[in-house]
Structure formats: structure tokens, C-alpha cells
Amino acid sequence: MLKATLKGLLARKLRLMLAGLAVVLGVTAVSAAMVTTATIGSGFDSIFETTTSDVDVSVSSAPNVGGETTFTPPVPASVVEELAGVAGIDAITGEVSADGARPVGADGKVISVQGPPRLGVAWQGETGLVELREGRGPTADDEVAINAGLAELGGYRVGGTIDVLTLEPRTTFRVVGVYGYSNGTGTMGGSTEVAFTEPVAQRLMLGETGVYSSLTLTARDTVPNETLRDEIAALLGDGYQVRTGDELAAQTAADGRAFLDIVRIVLLAFSGLSLLVGIFLILNTFSILVAQRTGELALVAALGARRRQIVGSVLVEAALVGVLASAVGIGLGVAVSTGLKAVMEAQSGAQLPVGLIVPVPDLLAAFGVGVLVTLVAALVPALRASRVPPVAAMRASAAEQRSLTRITVAGAVPAVLGVAGILGAVLDVVGDLRWAALGGGVVLGLVGLALLTPAASKVLLPVVGRLLGWSTPGRLGRLNAARNPRRTAITVATLVVTLGLVGGVGVVAESLRRDVSALVSTDLAADLVISGDGVSARAGGGSGGPPTAADGRIMPTFEASVVEEAAGLPGVAGATAQYVDTVELPGGQSPANAGDLSTLESVLGLKTVDGTLRLSGPDEIVVDTDTLGAQGWAVGDTARVATQRGGWQEYRIVGSYEPNFLLTGPVLTPEAATERFVSALPALGYVELAPDADVATVKAAVSELVADNPEVTVADQTQLATDSASRFDIAEIMLYVLLGLSVVIGILGIINTMALSILERTRELGLLRAIGMRRSHMVHMVVAESLVMSVFGGLLGLAFGGLAGAAFVSVAGLAELAVPWTSLAVFLGLAVAAGLIAALAPSTRAAKVNVLAAIAYE
């Protein structure tokens, strides 16, 4: 039996290759994700082990807000004296090193690196790690040394100048030295470094002199690091985190690796999608192969093969395809990883001090998944093969038409339940369960749709076909497409799923975008907004609310004087500034803002709910009603709020406001913000124009005020609305690319089915040629069949996805249901293109059918 299987396999090489392709792609993506993550991860580990090799124990302040990646307040120099008496300490060094030293490049733009930090540090001379390559260390306040990676990125030379943005506005320094590291690299994991003299570094990076970002301790030889760590932790108490060098390295490396997650998620998502599609493709191929071989299988059964043997023979075939495809996929995955590593090294300028790491257990798992997917997909066809009765061998051809009643009834149940769930959610009869009802409804609906597709094809294919072809060859093609509803259903399944996702995501994204733009323009009374790159795009934060600095990175800011000067410009009625940060409340993190409420109130359209919106001192706040409710506070209460620099303090709540899209959370005075927020500078400025002022003229004048700050731009309302709405773009585009790829796989499915159908119908094609169809007619007929199927699949998917998306929009309570007709049309066009491409080879083949051979009797 095995020998017969192998021979059969060789005879169907091309077909099985097509089936295996999706598995190859899926396994490629999985293994690329594994290898890339392992390689880059281990590269980072190795880099940060070097960085912290001199550190036995490190002391830094515990952050006031949030987890470990956020801002940590500086360590006062007094702590050094406090520790001086500890017997186990050999030496103490105060370090200044913080993210947020943004060098301005020769083109006037800030030099950006993807992922790694842009550090500003205090020069400590050549340590074991740092080695000067050229020049010397900084000795005066206007001197800096920079690392070789930055020198290369920005083209800086010793003797030249460099402009740097820090907590303070743009400042120019003289470059007096360029340094590298003891491991021979010019950058640590791609980070750029600017080394100032210690007081300058303290002022620019930490906000005040006489403080350090952390202390590095060297233990005496006899004292284990852990012992020293515990002793110091006990001595300093809760306000500090004390870690050994190894712990610090692990933490730093973990932070650095965070961006790897994105790569990993994209690759895994793609692999999931292509494996899902692969299931359909394999299911289809094997179903058709089995149907084609009905006679052969019946003969084998008649000769006495047991059912188990027949199932086995089909599964062995599938297993071989799976093994081969998975092996190829892993090979390709490793190759892709090599490419990805090169791309990342080029992008970040970081050389990874490791070769390609191949995590064997992970790859074995990927291999197993590939094989398993193939086997599972082939199981149904295999079981069907075993049910072929021996008498089928004696019949001329097996009756392929099985009744659709059972499958339709089986599909109607989940479809009805799904629709009920969705309706329940939309009509809000299920209360708090509405999201569950919607999700469950969509999943059930999809299952129902899959099972109902064969029946739907009977009704819809003629309709679609009529739109596409009136000529006789077109009509014949349409009839052929409707011939085997089950096969058509499996063939178009990929397109249905893909375009379903496109439709759903498209509708939701477009509606969200419309919603956000609308909110921005209703809530914002200002004509111009001054903001850093990415601040206005983040306006509204993750779930509404103002931009926050929660990611711990320094937000682009500008001098408060810019707003004052703007207020004095001709044509300007008023200008005000908004300071932005994240604070900790007893119930968790919250965005926090500061500004002159007398002006902010009108610009942001704030509505007073209770008390007053006028603050008379740094210890008074106003809070939005949502936060009040969540915290269980009331106006007049004294509330505890932890700011990034100020830590836990008590504030009196003097008023409350209705939260709106641009402002939520506690609002403090500008004076409090200057002292207690991470950045003492405003992140947003609003400018209102006099009634007769020209927007363009004033915008140009305001832009002039921030001309020296490349991170800050002036936007009018339209731009702001577009910016705010654009935050959905990247996710959407990424998804579209993924789905585009799965359309490609969908093409394979159609090619497969078409090719097999052509083969099955050779005689018919011969007859058609004999009675006078031209070659062009044959091409037309096959193209029509392919197009009808792809358009049917596309429409079905888009319709389902669109409706599911509309349900989501309704349940989410978005103001407006917006349908992105253009994107949907483009994707339907893609489906049409898929149909055309898929028809290329089969139609050529049909046109070339040899009439005589086709009509020859056996």
C-alpha cells in the first residue's frame, strides 16, 4: 500500500506542491519569528551583559508612577554619603544616563533610531567599557563627547558642533571626542550617546544638579553581590530599587527587546493566517484528489483493502506533503531570519555580537505544527475515501453530487445563533454581555457562513454570473462554477475569510477615524495647535483622553515663552499651553494635565460640573467626573496623587469637569507641572485667532517661533483631525498587507480547483471544440468560471465582514457608520485580479485541449 501511495505522490507532484505551498509559507513565518527573536534577543543580552559587567550593585529611585520602564526620579547626591559607611562597598560612582538626548542632524531633523534609546550621560573618563577613539572627554560646559555610532549616523566630527534637544530647549555643543566600547562596537544595541560634563548632564537629563540617575557600587571581593544588595536595600528603604549587575542587565535587555515583540507578532499573525488558509487549500486538494481517484479507490476496496488501509494511504500522502513543506518552510525561515537580522542591524546601526541562533525545540514545534495542519486538513477527505463502496469501481463515474440538505441545516443552526447574538448586542438587549454576544455571534456566524456557502453558491452564483457574462462561453463558465457547490465553497473559503476581515476592519477603522476627527473638531475651539511630532497623533490617548507620556520616553516639548510670544502676535486672540504627563492615583495610572484653566476651559470646551475650574495654588486640582467616580472622590475632598517627580502628595479637589476627547484626569497648575512633571515644558499649545485674521499668515508666524525646534510643528484644525485619525493607519495597513498575502494564497486555491476541473472535463472540452468553440471561447469560458468564483467569494466575505463591522460600530457606540468604499472596491478588485490570475494557466490548458484525444473512446 505504501509503495502505491509513493508512486501516486510522484504522479501528482505539481498539485501537491500547490497544496503544500501554504504550509511552506506558514512554517516559514513561524520559524523566522522564532529564529529572529532568539537571535536578536540573545544579541541584546550579550550587549547589556557587557554594559553592566563593572556593576556589582546598582541603586536607583523607585518610580513614583507605574512599572519599571517609566521615569525614575533622580537619586540625590546625599545618598552617596549615606552609603559611605557600608563596609561591603569598595567604591561608589554616581551615574547620569537617561533617554531623551535628541541630536539634531545636518538636515535640521532630529536623528531617529528605531527602538534603542538616545542617551544623554555624564562623562566619567575612559572606564573599562568606554574607550576614546579620537579627541578627549568634555571638560567645559559647552563640550560633549559622542559615541561612534552617533558620529556615524549624524556625520559629526571632533572639532565640529552638535545641537541637542533635552529637557531643556535646543542647545549647541562642541564635539571634543568620539568614543567606542571595549567590545569593539561603536554603539550599544543601536543607542546613541551624548556625554556631557557631569553638572550639565544632571541639568539637561535629570532636571537639576546634584542628583544622579543611579549609583553604581563595587563590592569588596569577599562580599557576594546579593548580600550587599540586600544590605543596601534594607538601609535605603522603599524609595529605592537596589539590583545586582546581572539583574540590571536582564532588565535593560528586556526593555531593549520590547520592540522585538512587534516583529514577532507580525510574523506569527501571518503564519497563523497562512496556516489557516493552508487548511482549506489542503482540504480542497485532497478532496479533489480523492474524488478523482474514486474508481481507483473502489478498485482497491474491491481487491480487499480495509478502510483503515485506505485512510492510512491518504494520510501517509498528506504526511509526506506536510513533512516536505515544513522542512522547506524551516529552511526558508532561517534564510528570512538572516535577512531580517541584516535589516535590523542596518536600521539601528547596531552590530549584534552573535551569529544566527537557531532554537531547535521551537523549530521542531513549528515543524510539528506544519505536519499536523496538513494531516488534520487531509483527515476529512481520507475518511471520505474510505467510504467509497467497491461497486463504484464498476460504475462509469462516481456521482459527485451529494445532497446539500444536511450541510445546509448544519450551517443554519450556528448562522441563526450567530445572527441572534449579533442582533442581541446591537439592539442592546443583553446588557453587559454585549461584547461577548457580538464576538460569539461573529464567530458562530462565520462557521454558519462556511457551511452555508455551498447552498448560497446555488442561489448567488447565477446572479454574479449574470453580471459578468452574457455570452455563451461566459454562461458555460458560470454553469461550471455552480457545478459542484461544495468544491466551490472550499475554493472560495480563503477569499471569504480574507475579504471578511478586510470588510470588517475597514468599516471599523473608517468609523473610528471619522469619530475621532469629529470629536477633535467639536471639542477643540483653537484654530492652531502647537505640538511635538506624535503628540497630536496621540491626542486622545489609547481610549480617548489627552496625550500621555506613559511610555516613559520624553515627549517633544517647547518653551513656555513660545505661547506667550504667540499671544502677542497680530491676528491672535489668545494662546495657552498644556503640560502633559502620567500620574499614579490610588486606583491606578491616569493621564494628568496642567495649564491655565481660565483659557484652557474655553479652548477645550470644558464644562464645569461642580465647584470651580479655577486653581489658586499648586496643591489644588480639578478632576473629571469619570475619574472622580472611579476613585470614589468628591469635590472638596483631599486626594492623594503621585506625580513623576513629586511622588505622593495631597491635593484638594476644587472642581470637576465633564471629560472630553482632549482632556481627562487631574488638572494641575502650570507651576506644579514645572516642578513635578517629567518635563517642565509644555507639550501642547493652543492658539485662537481674531475673527478677521488669516489662518495661513498666523500659522506661518507661529511656526517661525518654533522654527529652531525640529520636533515641534504647528497644525491647523484639519491637520490635527487627520493626525489624530491617522493613528489607526499603521495597524490597518499592516493588516491589509497580511491579508493581501493571504489573497495570494487564495489564488493558489482557485488555480488548484480550476486545474483539476479542466482535467476532469477534458472530454467535454473536446466536445465543445468539436462543435465549434474557438480557442478564445475556451479561454473566455474558463476565465468566466474563475471570475465568478472569486467575485462570489469576495462579495460574500465583504458583505459578512461589512455587516460584522457595522455591528461592532453600533455596539461600540461610535457616532457614525462610515464605509470605506474605496478600500472595499480595491479589495474586490484584488479578488477579481485573483480570479484572472488563477485562470491564466488553466485557461491556456483548456484552449490547448486536443480534440481528438479528448473525444477518443477508451
Binding site: 466536445l767 462543435i771 465549434g772 481528438l852
Partner: protein, 254 residues
């Protein structure tokens, strides 16, 4: 051979002139047709007979423009097939030639009526309703027009094929073993219909068969051996055909 000239007055529906056709190459080459010349008279029912490998199917395929010849010429009416391109041949088959095959004659996706009108539909032509009714009545399918092939018996399917061949009023209908897959009653119905269409509608029919009974329906029977015409009979009965077949080996094909 001597009787051919009598019929030239009524014109020729098809003819082969010095046609040679070989398959394969070198030592394995098989000569299917060997310098063969045949005339098919208009309005007559011609049968081609011969043992397996005598070239009878090849002759029909060449006459019908389904296959090309190595040398010689093939004509349908006044049109020379030799040298026509694929498109020209396809159009000729559609408009001027009808086919009835042994099996797989119909498209399973179309109804009987749609199958009958298919060649016209491909050419974007509408059938003449009166003629359509005449043809359908003649094959006795008036009450089966909306059925699909799978709902028809073998004989009925073959009658649909006959109606399809007849509807465009082609120069020639080629029938390749049209009764080969049928029981004798259905077979006789088909043969009766074919000879009636010659008598009543003056249709020209060329039929390849190895069945003496079927050949007996023809006006003229041509016997092939080794790619050459070795004998012919006019208005024969089954016995005469059978006798000729039995004696075929004794004819010298050289």
C-alpha cells in the same frame, strides 16, 4: 468506383483528394490514410466501414476538420480545409459541420434545449423557431426539452445530439459510431432518424461504424483497409455488408 460520376450533378458535400496521414515517426510510423480519395455526395447517407486500424475514424476526423492531413486536400463544399487556421476550422465546425459521437455528446450543465441550440448560441445566432420545432418533433423530444442529460436515457441523449447536429443545417453531419453505446432498439431509432433526415431534409450524413446493421441504413457503404478504399456498396442490406466485411481480407489494398 465507376458510380461516382453519376452523383456529381447534385454536387459534393465533402471530399478528400489524395489524402495521406501517418502517426508516429521512423520505424514506429503507422500509415492511417494512404493516398486516399473519397467524395461525399450531397443529400446522401454514406457509411464508412472497415476493421480496427483501417483508418475509418481518421478519415472522418480529417474530413470534419478535427485532424490535419500530411498531404492531399480536404474540402467541405467549396471550402478547402487544408491550410485553414484553428479559428477558421472552429468556425467551420460550428457553422457547416455537425457531430454525433458515441458518448459524451452533451454538456451536463445545460438542458436538452440548451444543448441543441449550443452551436448557434456560440455563434450568437437564434434558431429559426419553425425549424427548431420540426427538428425536435422529428427526434421526438418535445416533452424533454427542459431535462438535463442526467435525467435522460442513453437513447434520448443521443437523439438530443442528433437534433443539435441537425439544427444549424450543416453541409455534413459526421456520426462516429452513434449507436455504439446503445441497446438495439434505441440504436435503430437513431439510425431511423438519421436516414429520415436524409430523405426528408436532404441532409448529408457520413457515419463511421463497424456494425453491419447500422451500415445497412446507408445509401452507400465505403470499405477501408489499411488506409485505402477497397470496396463500396450501394443501398446494401445487412447481409451484403456482412459478407463484404468477411471477405475484406481477400481484397487487395495495394
Amino acid at each position: 468506383m465507376t458510380t461516382v460520376t453519376q452523383e456529381t450533378i447534385t454536387g459534393l458535400a465533402a471530399r478528400a483528394v489524395g489524402v495521406t496521414k501517418a502517426y508516429g515517426a521512423g520505424a514506429a510510423a503507422v500509415t492511417a490514410l494512404d493516398d486516399l480519395s473519397v467524395d461525399v455526395q450531397r443529400g446522401r447517407f454514406t457509411a464508412i466501414m472497415g476493421p480496427s486500424g483501417s483508418g475509418k475514424s481518421t478519415l472522418m476526423h480529417c474530413l470534419a476538420g478535427l485532424d490535419t492531413v500530411d498531404s492531399g486536400e480536404v474540402w467541405i463544399g467549396e471550402t478547402r480545409l487544408t491550410g485553414l487556421n484553428d479559428k477558421g476550422l472552429a468556425d467551420l465546425r460550428r457553422n457547416r459541420v455537425g457531430f454525433v459521437f458515441q458518448q459524451f455528446n452533451l454538456l451536463p450543465t445545460l438542458t436538452a434545449e440548451e444543448n441543441i441550440t449550443l452551436p448557434l448560441a456560440i455563434a450568437n445566432r437564434k434558431p429559426d423557431p419553425a425549424w427548431f420545432d420540426t427538428v425536435v418533433d422529428a427526434v421526438g423530444l418535445s416533452d424533454r426539452l427542459t431535462h438535463r442529460p442526467s435525467e435522460l436515457s442513453g437513447g434520448q441523449q443521443q437523439r438530443v445530439a442528433c437534433a443539435r447536429a441537425l439544427l444549424p443545417k450543416p453541409d455534413v453531419i459526421f456520426a462516429d459510431e452513434p449507436t455504439g453505446n446503445l441497446d438495439s432498439r434505441s440504436g435503430n431509432e437513431i439510425l431511423g432518424f438519421l436516414s429520415r433526415s436524409v430523405e426528408q431534409f436532404h441532409q448529408t450524413i457520413v457515419m463511421v461504424t463497424h456494425d453491419a446493421n447500422a451500415a445497412a441504413y446507408a445509401d452507400r457503404v465505403i470499405f477501408l483497409l489499411d488506409g485505402r478504399m477497397v470496396h463500396e456498396l450501394h443501398d446494401p442490406d445487412a447481409e451484403a455488408v456482412l459478407d463484404t466485411m468477411k471477405a475484406l481480407d481477400t481484397f487487395d489494398s495495394r
